[in-house]
Symmetry: C2
Subunit: 193 residues, 2 copies
DNA sequence: GTATTTTCGACTTTATTGTTAAAATATTCT
DNA sequence: AGAATATTTTAACAATAAAGTCGAAAATAC
């Protein structure tokens, strides 16, 4: 009787692949149905409509990102190192997810506001996470005392700025270099000498 | 005044990218128009319809494959080496092209016969090319004397057989290993000891 | 300038898609 | 078993999107 959740997950997984490959528009309910070996209408037993499926996928992806960030940073005690790691993992994971955002960004209707809201939520969480890393650094007397809230927001904005070129040029090596550069710049302003 | 051919080539190139990414069905004339910075209707000045664009792309790709094979094998004098190289290049290039075939294979209408005809033509050419490599080998007394026509056809079939899994598992390393295996098997039956 | 080539917007036609409701089938419970 | 519930399928249909047409405007050649 708890099958429903399982099937839902299967649908989400199928939809995830399709959305990431074709984007929201080009992925049809029939595509999803085909992959899940179901009739197109059966999907509506699990999700109200296509957008609901999309939401579920996005939310799922967001949780993956959160987990990746957590897994990557727990265990690192040095705040500077932790911050760099955080940014790297974030950007790399985002590179995978970006297809969705890209696919939706250019559809000017109701989707946008949803993704946008979700995005804002994520940004806030992110600022919070970064802030606590910065606080740690200050605590450990490795970072200069500063307005960590402001600094965290700055970092979030910097990472968002990095995303746009990410859509166009997918060179991972390039990305790492750019991240390192930014991190270095931040550190030479941030670290005690 | 010879602009027409140039623009045609541009359209083919744009369509090539789109078809290879999205397949025949999910690529729309508007997609192609957008990429070429033209109005959708303008495309119909150069091509009768979507299928014509597709044909042009396929034909173009086929010529690329032929050229790649020629370039890769000319200059190699040892027939065994040449054969292996031929197969490797063929499979690797085919891996790029396979999206088209895949995209069309499952559309059971008029396209099939066209692609099929073109495919048959290519198979024949291929059998011929392989046969001449085999003939060389026999000539140079490196291959056993055998019915090279039959052997060439066998090889073509073997390569076609390799294509199917190619669609599903895209591991290039795996592919090379499999090719080597097949080539090795063939050689131990083929080479003089 | 006129003729020719090329582009494009406004349409029409055709095909696909999302969605719904109801019927059919399977599963679980008593 | 058979009632109750959960899932899938079928068939329909409106909305949307796509393919393709046409004439006329731009651009270019002559």
């Amino acid at each position: 009787m708890k099958k429903k959740e399982t099937v839902k997950q299967e649908i989400i997984e199928a939809a995830r692949q399709l959305f990431s490959r074709y984007g929201f528009r080009k992925t049809t309910m029939e595509d999803i149905a085909r992959v899940t070996h179901k009739g197109k209408s059966s999907l509506y037993y699990y999700f109200r409509n296509k957008e609901e499926v999309f939401r579920a996928v996005i939310i799922h992806e967001a949780s993956i990102l959160r987990k990746a960030l957590k897994d990557a940073t727990t265990g690192i005690s040095d705040p500077a190192e932790k911050l760099e790691k955080y940014m790297k993992v974030r950007m790399h994971t985002m590179k995978e997810l970006i297809n969705y955002y890209d696919a939706v960004e250019h559809e000017y209707d109701s989707h946008y506001s949803f993704v946008d809201r979700l995005r804002d939520q994520f940004d806030q969480d992110e600022a919070q996470a970064i802030r606590s890393i910065l606080d740690e650094g200050v605590e450990q007397d490795k970072f200069q005392a500063l307005d960590t809230e402001l600094a965290a927001n700055t970092l979030v904005i910097a990472m968002k700025g990095l995303e746009y070129p990410l859509v166009w040029k997918g060179s991972a090596q390039n990305l790492d270099k750019r991240i390192q550069k930014i991190v270095k710049i931040l550190f030479y302003g941030l670290l005690k000498r």
